[in-house]
Symmetry: C2
């Protein structure tokens, strides 16, 4: 079997300086920044921001048109207020609102925004999924 | 600032039974499976597999056509042999090869495949990024 593991998430972007400015406006600092790529340390994994065409070439299909939206990233928080704060900060950083945070049918509180390249982020509070102190998420037993 | 955190990755899929079968063929077991969604425990975060239209609706734009490819997920391994094994297992599970694993210019070894819905996975060995025993990745200091 393949380990159930994600160690790196890469976002392909049209305009790297614009993407770097967006994530800087969220308060994020790259741990490593090279010509053409930035890496951010997340909770036990890394987020990379990389040119869209370079990513297509790296995938072995330089002429592919790569799309966004069908894979989303969520940040879970412990309170609705933290969700609202994260959403508002993204708005002030230039994100596009998809759905403002609201109470949702599964018992939590969730909103969605898109970054300047259309990468979709969810900000959510799920009362059934408590976060560890380090911000990591382990699913509760027995569901 | 917003914490540098990803707690949930969601893949929107056209055919949920097909997606579940693909990830089962990688040897993955869902920790939680409900009508219309499966959740897999990863390294301190969760991977969800969810209907594509349901995901668009959840994003607040039920009529959107969601695309794949511009956000990729990587699994890092400690050896080239592990990369090859993971790639071959994905092939036998029905993935589409994008780039067979090969030595790459940055000094590592990397390949890419797409799952049945076009979600892109990289399998890689990066000698400059050692993994922790639990499979998590923390960027080295001072780069």
């Amino acid at each position: 079997m393949t380990p159930q593991r994600v160690t790196l998430i890469t976002l392909g972007v049209h305009d790297l300086p614009r993407a770097r400015a967006f994530y800087a406006a969220l308060g994020w600092s790259p741990a490593e920044e090279a010509d053409g790529i930035s890496f951010y340390q997340m909770n036990g994994l890394v987020l990379g921001v990389f040119g869209l065409q370079a990513l297509a070439a790296d995938q072995g299909r330089p002429d592919a048109t790569l799309g966004t939206g069908a894979m989303t990233l969520a940040q879970n928080f412990s309170t609705e207020a933290e969700v609202d704060t994260a959403f508002e900060l993204a708005m002030s950083a230039g994100a596009t609102a998809l759905k403002r945070p609201e109470k949702v049918f599964w018992g939590g509180y969730s909103g969605y925004y898109a970054d300047p390249d259309g990468h979709v982020w969810e900000v959510a509070m799920n009362p059934f999924w408590p976060l560890a102190d380090d911000g990591s998420l382990t699913l509760p037993e027995g569901e």
